[in-house]
Amino acid sequence: MRRPLEVRPVPAGYRPGYPRFVEVTDWERLLRPSGSLLFGGLLGAALLVPERAGAQDAPPPPVGPPLASSNARAAAIANRALDEVRKSGFRYQRSETGEEEVVKGSPKVTFPKIRISYGNSYVGVFDLARAKQVTVELFAAYGVRLEERHLFKKDGVEFEADGYDPKRKIGFELLGSDRPPGGLSEKVPPRESDPAKLLDDAETAKLKEQVAAKQESLFLAPVEKYPNMDGDQYTPLRAYLKSALDYLDWLKREGRL
């Protein structure tokens, strides 16, 4: 009689015998254009250029050109942060971006639009801590030294700003980052429970009014626009940093920097 079916582990040393995506180092050789219709054509070659160039110099971002800014140092900071994330894992190639007005009169905020595939949902991870840290560095590149987690108080608005210079009234806040959407996941960032630090809906509306009236120069980006599920860390961060650079460039053009 033959054995019944059973649960039995495969030996831990099992190796598939071909590399993981992240283990391949010689991209130029591996991905050299082949003879199929487009893969061998000019377009295929052109699309592979960033990867090929990356084999020689500092690798540029693979999704779109490097972020640009009138402040070369700020652009370098943003692109360096993206390059660090690029090495960390998966990117979804069908991502697009959209724009939305968050504060009247301020530049629109760019956000990613990542399509979901049934049963195969590659969406993004937005690294809140990294985003905040890089934003502080971007402001510094423009000569603004921000106080992190500053307790902002003005005209009935009281909350802990992610970064703020009280003298120049310049800073930024990732709206909703103190109470991120929980969804069904257990892996949600901690929520702020101190009401003095929490920015509620009414305060958010008032804060936007203050910014729209140019009483304050705050870069406001809603966290809910940056997907937080799995996989792609690059795309949401790129969209966010583009917005931050756009805002700072605009602030400079406005003569407030």
Partner: protein, 377 residues
């Protein structure tokens, strides 16, 4: 977040392996569907993958036609991106519905088990074969030149025809071929031997067609290979009950998985009272346990043992590992890896592009456009 509307429980077929026990015909009322939509959108996820499920969902075409645009509108109003999918047995698929599907980017997945003998389990209420209608639907989809998938179930009864069936569907024009095991069937070791022979022959097919640079997606091979070549994408890329999927039953009850709608004790709320997040988390915790044997397993990261509905179906618990699933993973993974090794060693261009080129999706989409234009001239 994946949201499934069980638009109807009615079905005109009586497939031998179907887990539904009750084919009564309640339909999901539009107002309940929309209340459920709002509750899911309120959770704050920026992306929604929507499936219209059944019974046979195309028995409720009129509901889909009214519900889909409204979901699009409500999602857009909240800045949520959404895409749609509908599986069907093909018996009610027609040109008019395909036009609607194309207009709304509704992805159609046709349930067809292969050639006529392989499809014998999919029978009508009168016991007659549904193959002629499934084949007609396949021809309709191929003629539309639209993207679609075929979904085939492998059972002990048709396992001997596995490779022939996939080749039949491929030759008929299917390029996204999903082959899934009926884990609830009484598999024997002899059946699994036959499955292994089928997979090895399919492996040869995969190698041959990849070398010929024919683009296709064949699950489980591509899924298994991608599970290795892609970096670990984290816990949420697979279905996890209580975390990233919800199913709305026709009576308005929420369930954490498509297959749980027949189990009222596993409901996680109702549109009248909302989604019970605490219950979702409790079920997720219950399903997250693993068999101790899996701890040291060399393919645990690529294994399908996380599927709670399979566990429930085969073991009666949410976390138990069905022996047939484990046997299947141990059988399939080395065969898929052998295929991948053969193709990687010869640097088969399409294999390399598919599994290692970050621009593969874009390139294939462009290739489609160019081919379409050249064929239309």
């Amino acid at each position: 977040m994946q949201l499934t509307y069980h638009v109807t429980k009615a079905c005109n077929l009586r497939c031998h392996y179907c887990y539904y026990a009750d084919f009564a015909a309640p339909r999901l009322p539009l107002d309940i569907a929309l209340r459920g939509t709002d509750q899911v959108l309120h959770l704050g996820h920026p992306h929604l993958g929507v499936t219209f499920f059944g019974g046979e969902p195309l028995l409720a075409k009129d509901l889909i036609r009214r519900l889909l645009p409204e979901v699009e509108r409500r999602a857009a109003a909240r800045g949520v991106s959404v895409n749609f999918k509908v599986p069907t047995n093909g018996t009610h698929l027609d040109e008019e519905f395909l036009s609607f599907a194309e207009a709304h980017a509704l992805f159609v997945s046709l349930s067809i088990d292969g050639d006529e003998p392989a499809h014998a389990s999919r029978v009508g209420a009168d016991g007659g074969s549904s193959f002629p209608e499934a084949r007609r639907a396949l021809e309709l989809l191929v003629a539309r030149a639209t993207s679609f998938a075929t979904y085939s179930v492998v059972t002990p009864a048709n396992v001997a025809r596995l490779a022939r069936s996939v080749e039949f569907l491929y030759e008929a024009g299917s390029r996204i071929l999903i082959v899934a095991l009926d884990h609830g069937a009484p598999w024997t070791r002899r059946d699994l031997d036959a499955l292994g022979r089928g997979y090895r022959r399919l492996g040869d097919f995969y190698v041959r067609e990849t070398i010929r640079r024919r683009r296709f997606y064949l699950s489980p091979f591509d899924a298994k290979i991608l599970a290795h070549t892609r970096p670990d994408p984290g816990d949420d890329t697979v279905c996890r009950i209580g975390v990233n999927q919800l199913s709305l039953a026709p009576d308005g009850a929420w369930f954490p998985c498509i297959q749980f709608v027949e189990r009222p004790e596993l409901a996680v709320g109702h549109v009248a009272t909302g989604i019970d997040l605490a219950r979702c988390r409790a079920l997720h915790r219950e399903s997250a346990g693993a068999d101790p044997a899996c701890g040291s397993c060399g393919i645990a990261e690529r294994c399908g043992h996380h599927c709670a509905c399979l566990s429930l179906q085969a073991t009666g618990t949410l976390s138990g590992v069905p022996p047939v699933l484990c046997e299947h993973e141990r059988l399939l993974t080395p065969i898929a890896d052998a295929v991948a090794r053969r193709l990687f060693r010869r640097r088969a261009p399409l294999f390399v592009q598919k599994h290692y080129n970050p621009h593969y999706d874009l390139l294939t989409a462009l290739e489609d456009v160019v081919l379409e234009r050249s064929e239309s001239r």
